[in-house]
Symmetry: D2
Subunit: 339 residues, 4 copies
């Protein structure tokens, strides 16, 4: 079927490629024309404006936006000037589901249809397919089914979940895409997905860090009042082969996962991770997940700890730590260690 794509960054462009490979007809637009030209060479229909893009579509038009979060509202506004009743606006970016609620209502008031699609897969999606979490009305989502099917990984070589073979009705979940609920549900599920991702990443990072420091018993002990002495240095004299440990866990262990695969790959490239300094960025989803937990009144100890560790890595706890040192100095005369 025909689909339009606005926003041809790494994600958007690769999605177009995957769609064309599956036989779909793609009309594309991007603010900078070079990205359009590249895809035109690969078979897409190009356009130099959103208006032109819309003009090249047959009703009901389906327009997939893959633009930065800050550009979504402007793109929708421009689309509303050209689209007609029954056309579909799809937000496949990393929007906050709360914005979906507002936007889907505005779009609906203009008789347009809405779908929000949380997309996971990163730079591997072109080849592996994209895991899609979809929000919107049932009819809209069903209409777009061929698009979702093409983008999704499909069953592939992943073993079927025991019990699924007896299910009387099948769902698309096994194909790697899922209609999660009404408008916003797609980005809500993607938000939580990323929150979980933060937690899993932190679990590996903390554990491997413990292994990395398993040789602290070998280091020259500092004897001063500001350092807690090790009671059992002999328990911590291991030089652990961290890259090999990450590798061995990939097969047969309970902690095998795709994130572990990536960790093992990073450690092969550089066992000491020399390209990184340890300043870890965070994007909106990790924050929103904890906020959702708080709004719902459910605990998120692990997910929030993973988030806060990133904040701390960004040097945002310095004032708090200065306060702790200042209190210690006040009550005990403790000076800060300088080394």
């Amino acid at each position: 079927m025909q689909i339009a794509m606005i926003g041809l960054g790494r994600m958007g462009a690769n999605m177009v490629r995957r769609l064309m490979k599956a036989g779909h007809e793609c009309v594309v637009y991007n603010r900078s024309p070079a990205a359009v030209d590249a895809l035109v060479k690969e078979g897409a229909t190009g356009s130099t404006s959103i208006k032109e893009l819309v003009s090249k579509l047959k009703a009901p038009r389906a327009v997939w936006m893959m633009v930065p979060a800050g550009a979504v509202d402007a793109t929708i506004q421009e689309l509303q000037q050209s689209l007609e009743a029954g056309d579909i606006v799809i937000d496949g970016g990393n929007s906050y589901y709360v914005d979906d609620l507002r936007r889907s209502k505005a779009v609906g008031d203009a008789k347009l249809k809405w779908a929000d699609v949380g997309t996971s897969g990163g730079v591997f999606g072109l080849e592996r397919g994209y895991c899609l979490m979809i929000g919107g009305e049932k009819e809209t989502v069903q209409y777009l089914d061929p698009i979702f099917k093409a983008l999704a990984p499909g069953r592939g070589t992943v073993d079927r979940t025991p019990g699924r073979e007896n299910a009387t009705e099948t769902t698309t979940a096994e194909e790697g895409y899922l209609h999660c609920g009404p408008a916003g549900a797609g980005h809500f599920v993607k938000m939580v997905h990323n929150g979980i991702e933060y937690g899993i990443m932190a679990a590996y990072a903390e554990g491997l860090n413990i292994l990395k420091h398993a040789n602290v018993g070998n280091t020259q002990e500092t004897f001063d009042a500001e350092t807690a002495p090790m009671r059992e240095p002999d328990h911590y004299k291991y030089d652990m082969p961290v890259p090999e440990i990450a590798e061995v866990w990939r097969r047969g262990s309970v902690v095998s996962s795709w994130l572990l695969d990536l960790t093992a790959a990073a450690l092969v490239e550089s066992p000491e991770l020399k390209d990184f300094s340890g300043r870890v960025s965070d994007s909106g989803e990790g924050r929103w997940t904890t906020i959702a937990a708080i709004d719902e009144g459910v605990p998120a100890d692990v997910l929030s700890a993973a988030l806060f560790a990133r904040f701390t890595s960004q040097s945002n706890a310095v004032y708090a730590n200065k306060l702790l040192s200042a209190m210690r100095f006040q009550f005990g005369g403790h000076k800060e260690k300088t080394s």
Copy 2:
């Protein structure tokens, strides 16, 4: 080669089966003879005592213990009465690596060799193979290589880590077993492995719990001084299909993992997890991992939060929570909500 196995519980018995399938000769012993008989029927050599077991082995003897943590010291003591210089004692159970340090020294004083093997794979190990993390002297570990190779999963269908193809020297990590370091190193790595496992499990559990409660905006709001009112109930009106969401993440998403596979399977069996009440046990490794982090002076926010959530699920925070309610009553006259 020939190997002895003491302890024929689920793990020990299945390991014997996997070893025999690979052509190894297994001499087995178990406190209750039924387990011995069963394996004898499958081709193992049985014995009715540790002494007899040892007598059936050719030097250098290799004896693998797969017994409860509380029975290891007694088993070693009994073995020392029969084994001879150069024989090998292997602890494949869930021992604390700190005990390995003591035991390997005692065993070494008796001229015996030592290996400790952390084993992951659970009930799936017979078929998938066991991920093995090994501690001990290099010569001992190399001597046992055929045994480890047979128990381990091998490369299987898991994609090779990019960069490994150019490695000048290969390691057994890609086969699913690894010599991690001297005595204790195997159980140390297994300990941290389980600590990570707690963290990953908690990440999924917290995230799916947030999805499960995404409909709190639909519940009749209680208006009382002891309940924080929802500011935006309209943001939380989703009835999320949690079992389908776990399934869809299995393909193409960043959070795919073996633990997610198991979660998806559990949710197919019972979407409401009706066989469980939420009292989560913990075993030693999760505790020891956090203690190791503390001894090393490295943070373990996520791993400890996962551990403490289990303690709380075991009702061990009740007194602390009573104190909180009592303080609230003292300063604000707040009564506890009863429902």
Copy 3:
């Protein structure tokens, strides 16, 4: 000076009493007239409607609202119908500072003045005075200074902070009230105050809970695969006198505080805290504090952990814990412990 009070619950009524004791003239209104009558008997001027209340005030009128968060907007709306340019609306309740931003703007558009006052002190405020955190324009706050001074504790017997004696300009902070910044600043500071309160309460609760369980080495050990055995039961055979410990820390220790005083009092009343079951409520401020931390990108590990412990005490982690048990059953065949 003259001041009006709307909302004569425990907090509002006691504030009127403290104001009258300081010689201020109070005009009061409450939805249910009994509370009005009671204060009229003590010297206040009563009123049966907001309109009447306003009619009894001299310009510039100052109206202090002490009403539930859910009633603030309606009260302001009604006030706007009677008040005149230059009159002052004061929100002394537990409002979200984000609402202050909106309300102060609306009030300002109607040429009224705004102040928001976070109030700490609870049921002890009548006697000890209320700690006041104030937001609003400088002129407004200065105009109300006599009111704030009367409500605040004053210097009292609290030792002066070293270094303050040399300050060239004094602030009202030493009197127990403070102009924190523009509209919203008062409730922002109060919000964080309560967030800190949660953290301190949790610190005591966790610590005393550790003391309470210092006798676990005496309990009959359960030997089963689902219970981690204690390595050193002899280290945990103390029957700690928790109420006495809370008392002894009140004098000379680093952890002495008002919350400790209250804890000691609660433990005298009932060492086992028999009136409480351990379901701990939370109000908005604790939630908003963590959300503010997330918005700012600063870590709040302790404050959020304190918040989440309350959520868990409200049984909101049950589904998460069921998932953990279900995963354990999947990979290890572990059954839940029932006792």
Copy 4:
């Protein structure tokens, strides 16, 4: 009564002063003689060796050790050569209660008596008195009562806990010292005391850090893929007067405490805490408290988070954070932000 003090550092010397002020006779020893000389001038009896110190005491001798944790065993060994049956060895330092269990047994085998005393009060103890948490046999503790009474703060100006006035039997807890249980109980309670101290300190530090960053909405927003954009910068445009806020909370608020007093003092000295960089040391007690919680199986989310924040401030999470950045680069091509 007569008492000996070994170790005349800041704590030991001031305790001698406080004891002499109360009329007790102090025999003192210190490795470096200058500290002995100073106290001799103030009225103490000096000695140049432990042997000489013991020789100057009348039986039953009471010897209080106030030496670094690493020197306790050697001091006890030396004492055992001079002391006689019935003499008392007191460890008033920051020892691990687990060592008390071992040492009290060894001392008891030599027919000596044992007391362990956890001491809080820091540099203020000379004037305010020391809060004492005591472990040992009842008779020993009672014999030393005059010493404890002299060191402790006494009731002072602290309000009596409501309910205590009706108690049929009084305890010394109101005087600021307490016999907590058998050997080790004193240091166990002190350990938890310090664990709580970490938690309270962190609660203030996190809260004040949130206030400090309440102006992030004013900072020039960076628009890049590695920075989560602020949704509501207008909510974070407060320049909070942090030193004044700490001060205002000291009177009438729920979070008033001695640690807050110290915080307020530090902020008067330097509002930006310019003498500190934010590297926060930790001593043994904070670590041991969390280990005790783990051994007991009770949650310590807040206390451990406070501990781990210190570890992170000591740069011990860098490798973990590098791993997170490396994973992000692997799956999303995210580069680390350099500024």
